[in-house]
Amino acid sequence: MSTIPRSVPPAPAVGGALLAGGPQRPYRPAPRRDSVSSWRWRHRAAYGACWAAGLSLCLIAVAILGYMAVEGVQYLSLEMLVTRPEPSLDQAQTGGILDPILGTLILTVMAILIATPLGAVAAIWIVEYGRPRWLARTIESGIEVVAGTPDIVLAIFGLAIFQLPLFAPLSFTADGGGVFGRSFFAASAMLSLIAIPMVFSATREGLLQVPAHVREASWALGKTRICTIRSVLLPVVRRHIATGSTLGMGRIVGDTAIVVVLLGGSLQITPVGDVPVLDVLKGSGSTLTTYVYNASPAGEGNAPQKAYAAAFVLLVLVLLLNAVATSIGKRSSPLEAHS
């Protein structure tokens, strides 16, 4: 009956263990008494190429990070963080990035609140119940399909959905009855789709790591499956869920296409209606990514200094989220602590 010890559990749906921030097997130590100087020159060239590839990776990363840091710190000021942006052709008049920051925060929180339960529930169902098998397999590959779908396609699809009259209460409705379809609701719903696969695969990883005897002990005490999940498995996989959703938040914060299409493209947060909180969520706005996109020479604003500053804030946010995910992943699990 137990579905746990399967032949080969599949790898994470998104990226590899390297990017997922999970614990890694120790690397194999290099064998002794094999010195490069005794190799044939072709092998030495290949060895050199490997070193070059590895070092240039570091160089590119450091170059991008360093450049963004220098430019960002140069143009960023405290005042910029707390003033609202203004549309203007003159770069000095364009104001700050308060609204984009708020927009990013609102969207990230909303999207992750949708994505975390859905991704975790899907993973729990597939690992712990997973009957009928064909359905579980289909859902697993379905999540992989969602993970592989370009974000611009998700965005366009979201627009088609939220322009339906059914979802009119979630966005601005024009006088003629045409539904605008662009709002914080719409954008966060679609953004959650790019986080679900990450939460899902992290949770599934965690559940597959729990040895079968832990579950069997719980069942032997007369607990039902769902009770085992609640009181035994959830505490163990909590940190996996946290890792997954933190990585997902990193993706959400960095996503541009969905926000460009589904958040209405207004620079300031523009509430719609008059209900206190709902009006903001129904309205349009901007995030750091769309701000950078519009302020770059490719967009309408053409304020490169503001773009650098906003991109720096964005980069710091994304890297912070990834660092948090890595540090959660490194923490030892409660199971290891007791055994």
Partner: protein
């Protein structure tokens, strides 16, 4: 109803409820295909299915003509020759994945085998960093650093003059787009290849070492060879990412529906182009025009279809390794 949910669930109820939530994913995919296909229908039917993918008139002129039409345009407005966009997508994807593949296999070998421990602790975070940087930041670096550099130092005045009646060379174009895209897709490939190389049983490489192979030979002839399916899968999945990249390409590609011509020699590298995904994001403001909207949904259908094919391709490519009990 809520009181029933709060009572302790029996297993049967729990399986049913959690399963129902999980099925939402399938519902989303189903809706996605149906909605995008329905919205794309006018373009598909007026162009005879896939006719709009072919070459023909200037695609930029066609799109801007679509913008100015009434709410119920006649069928001739839907005519679209999107070949330059498709060509741009294929070009960037193949170049980025091709260069990225060589680079990422070497880098993966370095991470798994050759890097000293202290350097590995730098390289792995560097890969994670490159994977985490949002595409808009890549685009910004591309357009504010690489494009001016190419414009000032690599494009000579004669070259600019040679093609000035066809395209303006401004530094945005094939070279910068391919370069940045390569950097963007490499981390994904490295992650997959590293996972595969590390899942190779140690006994295999130890066997090679016992037979007198040095570390490179053991790596290249045993590990990399055994990991070939994963390398193919990495290329395919990175291709899926490259095909769908909209924001960065729209920033650094020069955004013209132009097919760079290989006959132009080196000028090819500097000619502007645009991909399918970038066209979609740039037409966002025109979505109220029915013909534009239908064309954009047709492009979405194309991307959806190709990413689906690539996902399945990646899965199939990894099957041989999975069959041997390796976890990739």
């Amino acid at each position: 109803m809520f009181r029933r949910l709060r009572e302790p669930w029996t297993d049967r109820q729990a399986a049913w409820r959690l399963g129902a939530v999980s099925c939402l994913v399938l519902l989303v995919i189903l809706l996605m295909v149906v909605f995008v296909a329905v919205k794309a229908w006018p373009t598909l039917s007026n162009n005879g299915g896939v006719g709009w993918l072919g070459p023909g008139e200037d695609v930029d002129k066609q799109m801007s003509a679509m913008l100015t039409t009434s709410r119920h345009p006649d069928s001739s407005v839907y005519h679209l020759d999107a070949w330059p966009l498709v060509y741009g997508t294929i070009l960037t994807t193949i170049v980025a994945v091709g260069f990225g593949l060589v680079f990422s296999v070497l880098a993966a070998i370095f991470i798994v085998e050759f890097a000293p421990e202290w350097l590995r602790r730098l390289v792995v975070p560097a890969v994670r960093l490159l994977a985490a940087i949002p595409s808009v930041v890549y685009g910004l670096v591309g357009i504010l650093v690489l494009v001016p550099f190419v414009n000032e130092h690599l494009i000579s005045a004669e070259r600019r003059k040679e093609v000035e009646y066809v395209v303006q060379l401004t530094g945005t174009g094939v070279l910068v787009a391919c370069l940045v895209l390569t950097v963007m897709v490499t981390p994904i490939m490295i992650a997959i290849v590293v996972d595969a190389l590390r899942s190779i049983p140690t006994a295999w490489t130890e066997g090679a070492t016992a037979l007198g192979a040095n570390r490179w030979e053991a790596m290249w002839t045993v590990s990399v060879r055994a990991a070939r399916p994963a390398i193919v899968a990495a290329a395919v999945l990175a291709g899926a990412r490259a095909v769908g990249e909209a924001v960065m390409i729209s920033m650094v590609s020069g955004s013209r529906g132009f097919s760079p011509n290989l006959m132009d020699g080196l000028t090819y590298l500097f000619e502007p182009f645009r991909t399918v995904a970038a066209s979609m994001i740039e037409q966002v403001d025109g979505l109220n025009a029915p013909a534009i909207s239908s064309s954009v949904y047709a492009m979405a259908l194309l991307l959806l279809f190709s990413s689906l094919v690539l996902s399945i391709g990646g899965y199939v490519a990894k099957l041989p390794m999975r069959r041997q009990g390796m976890r990739v």
